[in-house]
Symmetry: C2
């Protein structure tokens, strides 16, 4: 995570910056069906940040590690000329041969996604317009709730470690990835590695409430944010149709929405079905542009 590329210092408390730096890496372990065990963290600190800042950053990172049962076993610190850099690396484990890759999707599989989509990109737009988490916390009623959903999703994403591990252990998925670049781009990675295509149904997409409710204020298309918005850190996976009831069971067990949003096709390419019509869906994942 690079200051000025992935985040701005003024957007969040240092605890959240540290937390997210680890969360996004643990998400990669979840996406392979692994159990996160160890992590290492290297930080390069520019002169404009205080020792207190870095203590808080590491504090947030260690808190998340602790709550996930992850041991921080190494790393390094350095100075930097002008940007804060945080590099995290995680090690997870799974039973031999059980790692879920991007390679096993097959025609006839269904496409699933955990949680809801679009809130992280909505949160990023709020941040870019100058909103702070403390203002969102102070905002009352329904609108305050939506601001918070969007900002928290962007600033403090929750890696889906338990869901990922159980999907792996129970062999529910044929392929899996986490949504870091946007559903359209990340699904394309699965399709390319599995040599197949997919149809996504617009009506089935679990669009986040905040993306829907703030769409007029922000002049955004909520479906577009859900299809292309990055940094969701939800799990996107494919599964055989006969697995469906077990996936529904996992969803209730965890209290986590897991939604079937489409099907894998033998014909290559990604298509979107909307109002009964099919049209090509280009990978247009969010690119960092701050």
């Amino acid at each position: 995570m690079v200051e000025g590329v992935h985040f701005r210092i003024e957007w969040a408390d240092p605890e959240l910056i540290g937390r997210k730096a680890l969360a996004v890496t643990l998400s990669d372990v979840a996406a392979m069906g692994g159990s996160a065990k160890f992590a290492m963290v290297s930080i390069a600190l520019p002169p404009h940040l205080s020792a207190q800042f870095i203590e808080k950053t590491l504090g947030g990172l260690f808190d998340l590690a602790h709550s996930c049962g992850v041991s921080i076993i190494g790393g390094d610190t350095s100075s930097s000329r002008d940007s804060l850099f945080i590099d995290t690396i995680a090690i997870g484990e799974c039973a031999a041969g059980r790692a879920v890759t991007r390679r096993g999707a097959e025609a006839g599989n269904r496409v699933y996604v955990t949680g809801t989509l679009g809130a992280s990109a909505t949160g990023l737009m709020l941040l870019e317009r100058g909103m702070k988490l403390r203002e969102a916390n102070a905002a009352e009623g329904e609108i305050g709730r939506q601001y918070r959903e969007a900002l928290v999703k962007h600033l403090a994403p929750e890696p889906r470690l338990i869901a990922g591990r159980l999907i792996g252990e129970r062999e529910l998925a044929t392929a899996m990835i986490d949504i870091s670049d946007g559903l359209s781009t990340d699904l394309t990675h699965i399709l390319e590695e599995s040599d197949c295509g997919a149809i996504i149904r617009a009506e089935a997409m679990p669009v986040a409430e905040s993306a829907l409710d703030l769409s007029i204020e922000l002049e955004i298309d909520p479906l577009s944010l859900a299809l292309h918005g990055g940094e969701e850190y939800e799990l996107l996976f494919t599964a055989r149709p006969e697995t469906h009831s077990r996936i529904e069971g996992l969803s209730s067990e965890l209290g986590l929405p897991i939604t079937a949003i489409g099907e894998i096709t033998s014909a290559r390419g990604l298509q979107l079905e909307r109002d009964g019509k099919l049209r090509p869906l280009m990978p247009a994942g969010y690119e960092h542009k701050i």
Copy 2:
């Protein structure tokens, strides 16, 4: 490794920058008596560097990994606003309970160091004065050889992986560290963690030929560079006196100088014995000041 902090782009070919980024991390595995197995590398690339530059950087890194039997198993790439960052993390293994820490030095132990010291700091001074490796390669005779020794030691340090592993496997050391900050500073780490002191004998120090031979031209004190110069990546360890002949055996076996340079004392503090007199030796390891 951070551009502008640990290196300058114009000092070396990208292959050497990549190579060193991994070498310094593998050196940490060697210093614990481990066998290096896996490494991960994260790179943040500023706009002013080309794709070709980064390919060459990674090429140098992968070449070293290959020659050391280390598999690169992960990592990440990112953009950066203006500096190149390379973070490497390595995983090594050793028999359970055999890792050599900084904590086991005991009064009566001897202090040993591999290789010779002072060349890396000498090389850094040459680089700071504008010398390039290709000029050193073109320089003839004895002076050319000294330029090359110093520059190569600084730009392409050799992690002491075989020596470190064998010292660990044969249980030759009671404590060990690699010299990254300078002998005086790194030995102080061992002394603090082992709660003891040491006397280093100036006459015994294996000062690098280049530091000796270039001392007049560069107006340097070669002993001072050997005592305080950083980025040597030689192994500094303590051992029981009865191990001495086995350490000499290892030295001949590897064709690598391993020199006894002093003794561990129960009284705390680090002292230098020179011309029959003892005086305090302050940790004054080289600090990056480019």
